[in-house]
Symmetry: C2
Subunit: 129 residues, 2 copies
Amino acid sequence: MAADALSQVFQALADPIRRDIVARLAVADATVNELAEPYEVTLQAVSQHLKVLESAGLVSRSRDAQRRPVHLEADVFDLMTKWIERYRRQAEQRFARLDELLDSMPDVEPDVEPAPNPKRTARTSGAKR
Amino acid sequence: MAADALSQVFQALADPIRRDIVARLAVADATVNELAEPYEVTLQAVSQHLKVLESAGLVSRSRDAQRRPVHLEADVFDLMTKWIERYRRQAEQRFARLDELLDSMPDVEPDVEPAPNPKRTARTSGAKR
DNA sequence: ATTGTATTCAATGAATTGGTTGAATACAGC
DNA sequence: GCTGTATTCAACCAATTCATTGAATACAAT
């Protein structure tokens, strides 16, 4: 349903086995067999995981006789990092501005009523739950 | 099946609507109704998307009369960025070292056999597809 | 040609996902 | 108390996901 690149990448990394595979491929290329070894699932399951990673563009496979060494494509990470960083920064800036405002308010005029404005109730309680 | 924090965060962002919601929340808090407005899906669907985002820790909801303003929790982004950056950097370094090695090899000792070691055939052809 | 190894393909199944509709709940305004 | 608005709950459905097993393919070694 969501075939766009970013969705595929996030989806691919939403599985612990696949994330672990990526982590191990960051250290060195490996064959399907090598990759499958530490997990409890079947070899075929790992092969399918690799398919997901490949179609997300996170890995590529070359050829070495009957072996198909898997190789991490680090570039795709940029796509994600860019998306994440963009909104994280935006959000942080917003909170910074808001905190600034909130900090300045009680100090500047301590004698004014603390809540003269009935609206702007949002960002209430800070209730974590 | 994968209830760990990181999986939930990646899973949550693997949907375009949810990513768009996050993007809009980075600008300002909003109510469910406001958030649902631009999409073609029902209000209930959006409510469910928010539930996913909330249990992934990406958003929190406060209370304002019958409204439940949704608020972006930017902290969770760090979890992802850290994971991503770690392996990206590792992979980049590895490629850098390898490229260095490959670059230096033909120059240093042109008369030695180019492939005296039968193993280490990996990282072959570089065939993209 | 036969055997063994590495890997994928195909069919299947249970669980999860993303959507729907319809009924509940919670609250503000009259 | 009734009405409207904001939101969730619950049941349901189709599509997808993650795993399985068994058969196929590709190649090296004998």
